[in-house]
Point group: C2
Chain length 375, copies 2
Amino acid sequence: MTARIQAIYRIRGSSTTIAERAQQIAVEQSVEMPVAAIAAPHVLDTIVGQVETISELGDGLFEVRIGLSVETVGDDPGQLVNMLFGNSSLHEDVALVDAVLPDTLLAQYDGPNHGIEGLRARVGAGPWALTCSALKPQGLSAKALAELAYRLALGRLDFIKDDHGLADQRFSPFAERVPACADAVRSAAEKTGHPTRYVPSLTGHLDSLRQQMEIARAAGIDTVMLAPMIAGLSNCVRLKRDYPDMAILAHPSLGGAARIAPEFLLGGLFRAIGADGIIFPNHGGRFGYSAETCLRIADRARGSWGGTKGSQRAGLKPAIPVPAGGMVLERVTEMLNFYGPDVMLLIGGGLLSAGAKLTAATEAFTAAVREHRYG
Amino acid sequence: MTARIQAIYRIRGSSTTIAERAQQIAVEQSVEMPVAAIAAPHVLDTIVGQVETISELGDGLFEVRIGLSVETVGDDPGQLVNMLFGNSSLHEDVALVDAVLPDTLLAQYDGPNHGIEGLRARVGAGPWALTCSALKPQGLSAKALAELAYRLALGRLDFIKDDHGLADQRFSPFAERVPACADAVRSAAEKTGHPTRYVPSLTGHLDSLRQQMEIARAAGIDTVMLAPMIAGLSNCVRLKRDYPDMAILAHPSLGGAARIAPEFLLGGLFRAIGADGIIFPNHGGRFGYSAETCLRIADRARGSWGGTKGSQRAGLKPAIPVPAGGMVLERVTEMLNFYGPDVMLLIGGGLLSAGAKLTAATEAFTAAVREHRYG
């Protein structure tokens, strides 16, 4: 008897069909063949997925909990998502809502290397909210982006990340852009006395990600951004292990596999595989997530996870939630009241719109966060 | 003026709001910031996405074509999908239906190394349908899987692939399973005279994928399987370039990002990044794709793509469509009539259910395909 992963699905169906449908999904996500044709007792007892509970949610929806063997996953997070939702992502009546991962499995990914504490330490912050902005638009030269970074950093931001559209393009090749922006931010930090960090976006296959990590490290950078659904979850864990000094912000690009609950994918899975900060679309911006969904994402990212009383192991470090996507200065107070101090506020376009007054707008943003009194 | 990628979205909206919404998506998928705050003429002229056409489809749906600069993509397919649908995957009213990729861009991925012709050559096939089955359930030992492979191969299959659930698990570690299955299939092939190929499933980060490629190659294997949405599109192209002798079957696992049209994702994008064969759920099996969707996937996989008259460059090689997912012997004739000879039929559980009569059932399958008369 080995520990099981509990995968939690929301399935559309009827009370007369749900038991059979749940059983089909349990088979689909484990042995993927007629169970009657399986002879091996070990496979029948351990490997075949087991329907654990079925609860009716109303409106033709059911929550189904299926136990999956941890043996089927091993230590590869790509294989985890394959077992949780690989084939069933193709079933239109099934959504993956959540998964309960045994501590033994969680320990293999081990979550953030740095977490909220490590991110705060980078910028000398105490228990208050962090600030972030974004370098854009893509299409600017490395020099122009570095100038922009300089002006933003003069506003005493904690982090300045690349737009997730910035990759290794001709108009601002990674190897030019990153040292230029890092230098610019460092110059500004020397002027302000605030240790603003530049966070480049890494892209491509694992070799390319590694090469970019090296360039970033050589430029004195200690925090980078990745989009795990594009980079590949397995590559992300590999990088987190190979570069334990680097903190990682996770970008949700391509995360809209509509039928994986965002609180699990972004707040849970991205944290499990090592994101120290998790960027997600805040409610009331350009994206449709509700306030409740956003709070669930934030709480999954930073709440306690794994590690039980009396266990030798502590749980995963908390990752900092980074609500974003069309945020503006006017919302800072509301957002801080909503999320509390364990948050990083990210305003990109909302600052860049200030044009010639960019540094002043940025300074207003960071001052508002600095001066906020948490209720 | 550079060539543009044309991204084709289906957007839910109304005739009074669609123009503004289309413009928002064009900005979201390019510069992701207020256009009014952009000063650089090059960015405004070239980099900002341009709404090219809007057509009403009825029922509150609109097809919107947006031109995106190829400069924003470079030669990384991860960045391509980032620009096509990264942030908009998080917008519930937007689906990515298709994309028209300029030949210059397509040439950077260059599609299948081997294609239908190369797969047929591996098994000495002429212009007829290929056959495939799957090794499962996971949980069996390497030895048990090899025995199963042997019995399947005696039935003269063209390809025997790993179940996509097989990874590098303790019960059948890759380094044990792959040589064992390769040897078993080779022994059977010597007996039947038919050069059946064993196709292992590769998993993990790029280092792991490469290590598995080496093990596979050392075992005399020339065809492997990958799940691009899990492995990462960028890793897939890297592998295709590094191992030009290997043919690749693409598995659709995690491909159900509900709002990317499967004909584009599976038939189009997976082919572009180098899949020689494309596995997808056939209609009437365990998955809900319609017959029309399946034919569209097949035709995107194998139809002509790229390379224009008078151009120096030929288009991409065709990839073979591999309909699967609950197929049975009784459907062989219907499927061959439906897809024609440029197809690989994959029956897994439907053969494994035969138990002691596995080889006979397999032989009946391959004979039915061999003897089929195309209309």
